[in-house]
Each structure stands twice: as C-alpha cells, then as structure tokens.
Amino acid sequence: MKYFLLCADALDAQQLALELSSDRAGAFVSFEGRVRNHNNHRIVQRLEYQAYAALAEAEGARILREASEKFAIEHTCCAHRVGTLAIGDIAVWVGVSSAHRDAAFACCRYIIDEVKLRVPIWKNEHYADGESGWLHPDNTPVGTG
C-alpha cells in the first residue's frame, strides 16, 4: 500500500502509522517535519502552505511509486499539510514499513528529499515583526529580486 495525501487538518501521526503495519514488517521508520520557531535568525509565529493540489497529488504519488520500486519495503505513506500552521504542528509526515531496517531508513529519506524537491507546495512564513515572505527550497526568502 502507498498513498500521498494533502490535508487541510492536523496530521495524526499515530493514525497514519497504523495503516502501514504488517505482520511481515520488522522495521518501521517515520519522519515528521514540524514548524520551527525560527528560520534565518528570525522568529517565526506561524506559516502557511499553499499547494497546486492536482499536480502535488500526482507528483507525490509518483514519488511513492518510485520509492516502492527502488527499496524492498512493505508499505509507505506521505501526508502534507496545507493552510495555516502553528509552531510545533506537523507539516509533513512520511512512514515506511519493511522487513529489514536498511530499506525503511533509506526509503523514508528518499521520499522526504524528493517531496521537498519536486512537489508543488510553497511555504509562507509569518514573522514576529509582522512581516511575511515566501521561501525558496533552501528556506531563504524569495524576496523581490
């Protein structure tokens, strides 16, 4: 089983993990990306994720298919939040179950790396000083130039 989800509501890591369990899986690795309270030395109060939903879902599903072919895993799932998030909220969750831990670790890492590179989702940070700004993939501001 493998699926990619965009979610407007809080991600429930426990619920997501439940669906990946398998009697043949000796290993389960999960990654959570959470909203940090700082970036580039500025205090972050909240942030927003905007997605081009149709393409994000298609590209996310493509990444999970690739990952399933590349690594000896049982199940995988990735869920990404959209909308407004507070500090500590889960922005993205990736879970992988497999017979042995090598595949689960490598596959989980592959998926989050590819999602961050390829899935059309954009982050807008709102700072304590009232400013906000869209970010580049390396978390530097898009700015005006």
Partner: protein, 79 residues
Amino acid sequence: MKYTLRYFASLADQAGCAEEIWETTLSEPRALYTELSSRHGFTLDASRLRVAINGEFADWHRVLADGDEIVFLPPVSGG
C-alpha cells in the same frame, strides 16, 4: 487564444490574483511568461520556474491549445 492561468506563492502576490483568463496571440509558455511578466512585474526569472499544462509538468516550448490551464511554478518549498 484564451488560457486559464493559475498563480501560486510569490507569483500570486505579484499578479494580485490566484487565477485569470488571458487572451493573447502567443502559443508557447516561454513567450507567454515574458508577456505576463511585463504585465504583472514578475521578478522571478523564467530559468527559476517550471511550467505545468493541464495539471502535468510540461516543456517550455510546447505548443499551447486554446483553453489550456497553464501554471508557472516557483521553486517549491514544502516539507
């Protein structure tokens, strides 16, 4: 030709809208982005963007059809 344009992130801020219908004689994404940049003052160079047509990634030199939905994608920053 009439296209539906959708904007995300900084392009939406600069366009002042998330979506618009655009009439033009142009039929190539590369030229279309240049035209839209002078209209909306887009600051991202086309080399930083990807283009999607009707919900799938596409080539910058593909020939557009009337009614296509076109999205210029800024560098992503999810995760």
